[in-house]
Symmetry: C3
């Protein structure tokens, strides 16, 4: 089981590294800017999660996370260089997959620490979005999480499915897979059909 969690973590990190690489590509960064951005995207959320939970930051004593990052980054560069174009929304889709992994893994770690379901969902959301937020801040983009399309909602939904299935005595593994799938599908649907939640700021006026 621990072994499986490790693989889930690695996969989330790999996909986030791809998203970071694509973001760096769009900004035409140099070779090491790419690696820095891929690494930040990939381990930022998990590092903040581990630091807040006060558990050992996982990549400190485990090089495999960096193999995942460098492998994913190298693969992405190769693909982009050779195909010359990458499909629309590739960054958003890679981000969605990484999100699904991180939300559920973050919630799982928080529950193991002994938090309530509520805080576990919140920690899952945080570990999912923080790496990408740091990436976007460093690129001087408005973080994806604020650009509508149900970004935060999908995290909460995935965390909700996972924690509530656990509460219903579903075994850990199916609960995790269901949570990941719920998060991923809702996010992909939101990207595909541009689902949004109503903007709250429109109806009022603020005097300057």
């Amino acid at each position: 089981m621990e072994q499986l969690f490790h693989w889930f973590d690695l996969m989330g990190i790999g996909v986030f590294a791809i998203a970071g690489t694509l973001a760096a590509w769009r900004k035409q960064m140099d070779g090491f800017g790419v690696i820095v951005l891929a690494t930040v995207t990939a381990i930022g959320g998990g590092t903040i999660r581990d630091v807040i939970l006060d558990v050992p930051v996982i990549w400190l004593t485990d090089n495999s996370y960096f193999y995942a990052i460098f492998g994913a980054t190298a693969l992405t560069i190769l693909l982009v260089r050779n195909r010359l174009t990458i499909p629309n929304n590739a960054l958003q889709i890679a981000d969605a997959i990484g999100l699904a992994f991180f939300v559920v893994m973050g919630a799982q770690k928080a529950l193991a620490y002994g938090t309530s379901d509520f805080v576990a969902i919140m920690m899952g959301t945080m570990s999912g979005v923080c790496g990408g937020m740091i990436r976007d801040v460093l690129c001087r983009e408005i973080p994806l999480v604020f650009r509508g399309e149900l970004y935060a909602v999908t995290c909460i939904f995935g965390g909700l499915v996972y924690t509530q299935l656990l509460a219903l005595q579903v075994a850990p593994l199916p609960a995790m897979l269901a949570g990941m799938l719920a998060c991923l599908l809702l996010r992909l649907a939101a990207i595909r059909w541009h689902l949004t939640i109503p903007v709250f700021g429109r109806s009022g006026r603020i005097s300057k």
Copy 2:
């Protein structure tokens, strides 16, 4: 006493959540962007404080912080929606109140950890300003703390009043209240009369 500290913490978090909601409103963010921004503003500074002091991050095992955030956010949205205008400087005033709570609570926690008065004032200032700084960075604004009007000075002043009263054997509670009041009044005065400290960069030239 512990109980009272908890309430002070909750109040600071609630007011910072209001400030975060108002900032999101100005940026016309969607419903969950608002909650993310309110939450970041509210718990950002306290989380950094707890992580640096290496004490358990307080909201991990206590849902009441999130009730305070969501309550404050919902209330703000209701008020803004119904009155249609919010007074000038509402964001700055909410920020000032939250600042007063956080500066003194941050200094108190640092002293409990065993730091010098100096570091306690510094930790108070950090926990006061960091949540707002993260909010401003995410909104791509220049952080309030750099926009003059004695922002950092008020934090230092509040921390100074609190720690020095303690050093003079004043009981903890009056010392805290005096520190909060000192911080709040100086900040409000700075906002009201546009008090500033001289900009240091004007007299010199830097060759590009």
Copy 3:
């Protein structure tokens, strides 16, 4: 030896404080904005390093770090005020010296924690670049680390020299000095001759 590490740490912090002060000067910030920015630049990287390694954050119980920051800031302000111009690239050179100290000290702390050489180099790079990244984000600049000129490479190179000399049974002190020198010289050479690594994003196209 511990004593010497402490001095290296202090020196790195002083030089980074100078770099932060110069950055604030360019942005024409007010007096306390300068101190905030100098402090963030100086202790940002080391704080993140200590938090991730889960060792006590060093400035919490040691005021000497703040004496170094304030001394360096005051000195810089005096110099800038009196000479009226500062040499081209002064910010970059101060940054390079601070970088050299922090990279090697960060790697040393990580090795003491028991990490692999690889992670130690990575931690050294992180503690070197994070303070400056926070400074640049707060100033709304694109972080130096992404602006080419071998910024990340110099960190990796300095960490590599230090860890590999240690692995070759070189005594700690000469290994540290060699690592710092390697980092500093490569960075200065990169600034002087505008050495860059090829930008990776140019050859491909991304459909929008």
